[in-house]
Symmetry: C2
Subunit: 452 residues, 2 copies
């Protein structure tokens, strides 16, 4: 299989570049057509490799692309999930080359969506093409379910899965949308944090006011907002919202020592990201803080005059985007309500506050001993020469919990990204070595499942 990959590599990379050129940003309505275009592109590429029943299925948002090949009688069925949408590209001026003009440098392809998730998704499609070429058939039954709203928290995929349980039924859901621990240190992620995103808007007056005439005598929306936001965090880095930690499990000594074994190079991380210091909840390590502890982070803030120069106003309104990562038995809805209560209780004088909810996702925990996962680990070991670790990831893939719950499927998070690949940031890239080794690993995995 390795030789076959080598033979077609250049062509596959050309095709990936073609895919990466489509600015399929799901969060921005002006890119709606691009998102549609990416869906059509995926559908076409599924047809090309011999997938059947390929459909671009409408939802209330961006469409789901489905396709299957179900002729491996008696063999297991694998559902491949991925997403063809990407994050917004801003701040655009920090990209060394334009986000939607893919460029290869030092064995990496640079483009928005390179690692998250177009590169990782496309390697599955190409792996199946190679298996088809080599054997005229696939070793297992395969279904694709590719969405276009992962970066906006999959609002329509949950209902879609609910409505198409039979169509999507499977023996394992395979997702490549996570990362290695480090180069040559593969990982199958076995837990994902849940998510909750909110927008807090605070108003004090019906108009911006002259800071000479009114300054010092009326509430200032930005002062009020910073006071309110600052009240949500304690000095020790913990979250001060009452009830926030309900359902958060105390990590067992076993888990803590397991996590301590996963390598983390603090000095290198600080240097790479130009951090003066790490910072987080007291009493926990970086791996714990970002993997098994919940967070509340301000993602954006805006208010008052932001142009060039100055404008001496008392601003009437300010707002902040806030998101939480949740773990264990934390319930997103209850956390939202706890934040609402906190805001009500800490509302500064003269502040009119509104809290809007964007998304919710439950935390997920996966048993690493499941045979579907252990077989995947075997495949990695064969290709990379090293058995993957089973880390607790800090990210959220909201739909993973739904796959597990609604379809009762084991979810195999076989990632091929690297943590340094700037996902959600400028200069996102994907190491082409993992594009090809990823294909090899997928081929190995499916063949191995077919032999069982």
């Amino acid at each position: 299989m390795k030789n076959l990959i080598e033979l077609h590599k250049e062509q596959f990379i050309e095709e990936l570049i073609d895919f990466l050129k489509i600015p399929s940003i799901s969060a921005l309505s002006e890119h709606k057509e691009d998102v549609q275009k990416a869906a059509a592109w995926v559908a076409e590429s599924l047809k090309t490799i011999g997938m059947e029943n390929v459909e671009v299925i409408k939802t209330d948002g961006h469409p789901v692309v489905y396709g299957d090949w179900l002729h491996a009688e008696g063999k297991p069925t694998v559902l491949v999930y991925g997403h063809y949408d990407v994050q917004p590209a801003d701040p655009i001026d920090l990209w060394e080359t334009p986000p939607f003009q893919p460029v290869i440098r030092d064995g990496k392809v640079f483009a928005r969506g390179a690692t998250d998730d177009k590169g990782q998704l496309f390697l599955h499609i190409k792996a199946l093409e190679l298996l088809m070429k080599e054997h005229g058939a696939l070793p297992v039954n395969v279904k694709f379910c590719i969405e276009g709203e992962e970066e906006v928290a999959s609002p329509n995929l949950g209902p879609f899965i609910d409505q198409h349980q039979e169509k999507l039924s499977n023996d394992a859901v395979v997702i490549s949308d996570t990362s290695f621990i480090d180069r040559d240190l593969p990982a199958i992620c076995t837990s994902l944090r849940g998510a909750l995103a909110m927008e807090l808007t605070l108003k004090t007056a019906n108009s911006d006011l002259h800071s000479g005439t009114y300054g010092g005598g009326v509430p200032n929306s930005i002062h009020a907002l910073v006071q309110l936001l600052d009240s949500m965090r304690n000095e020790d880095g913990s979250i001060a919202v009452e009830g926030f930690y309900d359902g958060v499990p105390e990590p067992t000594p076993e888990l803590r020592s397991e996590m301590a074994e996963i390598p983390f190079d603090e000095a290198r991380t600080k240097e790479q990201l130009d951090l003066d210091a790490l910072y987080g909840e007291e009493g926990f390590t970086f791996k714990e803080r970002t993997g098994i502890r919940p967070t509340l982070e301000i993602n954006g803030i805006t208010g008052g005059f932001q142009g060039e120069g100055l404008k001496t106003i008392v601003p009437k309104e300010a707002s902040a985007k806030i998101s939480c990562r949740l773990v264990g038995e934390q319930d997103p809805q209850k956390v939202f309500e706890a934040v609402e209560r906190h805001i009500e209780a800490h509302k500064p004088t003269g502040a009119k506050v509104a809290l809007r909810q964007f998304i919710q996702a439950n935390p997920v925990s996966i048993d690493s001993n499941h045979p579907m996962i252990q077989t995947a680990a075997d495949a990695y070991e064969k290709v990379y020469g090293r058995r993957p670790l089973f880390p607790k990831e800090g990210g959220s893939i909201p739909i993973v919990e739904v796959f597990g719950r609604v379809l009762d499927s084991p979810v195999v998070l076989m990632g091929f990204g690297l943590p340094s690949e700037n996902l959600h940031a400028p200069n996102e890239h994907f190491h082409l070595e993992n594009f090809t080794k990823g294909m090899e690993t997928v081929c190995e995995y499916l063949q191995s499942l077919g032999r069982k």
Copy 2:
């Protein structure tokens, strides 16, 4: 004179509308040509009314317009100061009619700059035109010094005055850029707060980071910024920056009772501005907080993702615009250094901070018993039927202190605006009744000075 004003009123309003159509926003470089255009417009209108030696004089920024008429031998010389530049118009969507398409409604002209300061400046020019028409000469010597950078704190007018002391020498500087207490309750302002404007930028990393991968484990620039900003104010509304209050005089019982006499309708202010509450330094009234107490206000804040929807990042950078109003013997430079020290002492973990200074202006206090001011008060009394009050204004006109210090002139702040005229805010307007009564008052004042 009243009849003459009545006769020409419509034409003068037409001309004012023409002036207001020029978007001479000094803070925005894209409006540089408009600012030049406004300067030329003012110069032209000075020539038209018979002013001599009219010049548009270059500076390192926007030009100063000068003109004089010096044929009233043995009579005092009045220097009229005003500004032809205006504030930015945003938020543009809150204007009922476009800011640079002046409209008259209910006896008011709506446009950016209507009251601040084009309307108030232009009434001086037109008053002189009428005096010339009526008498073929002016009762006093007059000089105009009209700048285009007042809204960006007059960075070049200070040096200009320094360099042109002889040219600008006078017996009184007359400025109409302040407000009545209320309709039919005129005021000659006798103190102005000083000003200090700053921009605080805080960085934590070299890139926005994925909040799933890094959230909870690295410093968040917005969390750090809100913590730092919140630390600058105490719960009682006072400023927590050590040394901030150095040089702030304790108000005497006399001053407090004098200020208490100036009417303030709290209920109406709250209703007009849709304020749930007033807010400020404990132990002081609204008039004191906005008139004789110093302030530190956040005018704008920005950081992280601000687009539609969400982006789950740990933002690398955030910034805030901050401005202070200063009183008494507060020294802007020392206050700046106190803020710098506060930031250094309260800097959150992992924060790299830069504080940039925009502008500085010293506080000003004017003796209301000066004959030049008392004569102006007589003129108001004659036209409005009521003697003006002498309030302590909360605003800053940075150049007033320079006029007093460098030219040793009494400064007569004879305002014709109303506090409700939305200066620096959307739907700025100017009451046309004060446009005409203002002309009458100015004519009365100059004639009276000429008789002495």
